[in-house]
């Protein structure tokens, strides 16, 4: 950094603005202006049919908070987020631990675990719609053949089965994120810890509870936060698979907001709903950090 001092201040600022400028402008234009615009728009009447916008104060928010649909969607979002994140962590933990143990073929196995995460969402959505199809889906065919079920299950079309089925699809696609982070963390755990636990007479289960889990604490908390935020925002996979249906069985907040904006064509109300969503996220993240503080590491006798 010393050499920088030799340049004049003007030269430095020219260089700096030329270097940072494009990225800064892009960030402001494509992320920050739209966000501010969206939050502002919540305070205006704005329909899709004419460009006129008029000041609405808190009207959109009053309207929104009185909608049973909003609260239903919030409930669905909560179920979806908690269900999906728990499933992802469970599967991620399973594959993370397994990958950590397996020595031969680890590279191949890891590729297989990563693959779903890197697939386009549309592919995951369509493939699941196809294999879980009630008439021609292979899963129903196999289940019928084995005799587990007597009539085909309409996984994504059933009121009770749609949400679990969608959660399963997200678990299938996104668990690799958890698996990779958990694996990376496991590989830094000092093997001596396991040795000393063993000499104290700990079995596999006690080793897991007393050595593995405390070491994974911050990783798991971070995964839960990141995946929680992303699942709360999840629009594409749910839209592709069920579009919020059947009835409103899988209508989470992002789907609800989309419908207000592009099916009822009320952008003011949609923006207000977005703002509510964003506020919930921010509040949640802050409380989460206050309670758990994922950056804090529990040191286990190191």
């Amino acid at each position: 950094m010393v050499a920088v001092e030799y340049e004049s201040r003007i030269a430095k600022w020219t260089w700096l603005s030329a270097a940072i400028g494009p990225a800064l402008i892009l960030l402001v234009v494509v992320a920050y202006i739209p966000i501010i615009f969206a939050i502002g728009l919540g305070f205006y009447y704005r329909s899709a049919f004419d460009d006129a916008i008029t000041w609405a104060g808190f009207d959109n928010f009053y309207w929104l908070l009185r909608q049973p649909g909003l609260w239903a969607a919030l409930g669905k979002s909560t179920i979806f987020t908690i269900g999906s994140v728990s499933l992802q962590i469970a599967i991620g933990l399973f594959f993370g631990l397994l990958l950590n143990e397996v020595v031969r073929g680890r590279a191949v196995l890891r590729s297989l675990v990563i693959l779903p995460y890197l697939l386009p969402t549309i592919v995951v959505g369509l493939v699941f719609r196809w294999i879980l199809n009630p008439q021609t889906g292979i899963v129903n065919q196999i289940l019928l053949d084995i005799g587990v079920i007597s009539a085909p299950i309409n996984f994504f079309g059933g009121l009770d089965s749609a949400m679990p089925a969608v959660i399963f699809a997200t678990g299938w696609q996104y668990s690799s994120f958890a698996a990779l982070l958990i694996l990376a963390r496991l590989q830094t755990v000092n093997p001596r810890l396991y040795e000393s636990a063993r000499t104290c007479g700990a079995g596999t289960w006690r080793c897991f509870v007393d050595v593995t889990l405390p070491n994974l604490r911050s990783t798991l908390l971070l995964i839960a936060l990141l995946r929680g935020v992303w699942m709360f925002n999840k629009f594409d996979l749910i839209w592709i698979i069920t579009a919020g249906g059947p009835l409103e069985a899988t209508e989470t907040l992002p789907i609800y907001v989309y419908k207000i904006a592009f099916q009822e064509f009320d952008f003011g109300r949609a923006a207000a709903a977005c703002t509510v969503m964003f506020a919930i996220l921010c509040a949640f993240s802050i409380v989460y950090f206050k309670i758990f503080n994922p950056t804090k590491e529990i040191e286990v006798g190191r």
């Binding site: 590729s111 386009p120 592709i240």
Partner: protein
Amino acid sequence: MQDAFSKRVYRLLLLTASLPVLIFPLYWMTVTAFTPRDALFRPPYEVIPTRFSLENLNELLSATQFLGFMQNSLIVASGAVLLSVSASTLAGYGISRFKFRYKRHFMAGALWSYMFPPILLAIPLYLIFSKLELRNTYFGLILAHVSLSLPLTISIMQQYFSIVPISLEEAAWVSGASRFRALLEICLPSALPGMLSAGIFAFALSWNDFAFAFILQTDVRMYTLPVGLATFVEQSAIHWGLIMASSALISIPSFALVIFFQRYLTGGVKRR
């Protein structure tokens, strides 16, 4: 010994129980893509098929708009890669080579935008782009996709430049090279692997994106592959053989990505 052996058997059992769940959906996608039409319309299916045909692929490429969608996808993804990589390379250089007051704010601001709900961005972008007549254009969607990839590529490039030693550049300056020449001839070549990974991520995010393309591109001629595929499901003339064939084709970059990701994870790219 007994213990180690039983552990291995146990692991093998776990693997054989779990891997099918992981692989089966993709296996069935591939099988369906190559199933001949007559078998496709006559379930039940053979779980391990004996007959294959290229009918679906042929029909997909000749009788549907698949190639048009693919062209759109490629154009948008290339634009997003170009814009995202060049902006983030410059930014990474700036962040790692200069001291300035709001450096931490800049980086935090970039990362924070990663948490914005896409739907929260999509609605204002729809309105702003309508006004600017950027909707249903390549450039508009490229900009939207840059909003997805830029936070990530900036942090990749910043990390990468912080590994490239500044002493090389200093040596060049001492021997009379301008800052520009040092950047061009020393810094950029050594940052090339970082640019490659940033580019690959930017490509993947753009190629895989459904939400922005779905909301911003309403003209069928401007559809990218994911949006185009979603309309396939609603068209009665298009059957699942075609849908799975196109799903398989659009997944090809993901398979390539896995290979790259492996190297990235094992540190092959990062620590070179």
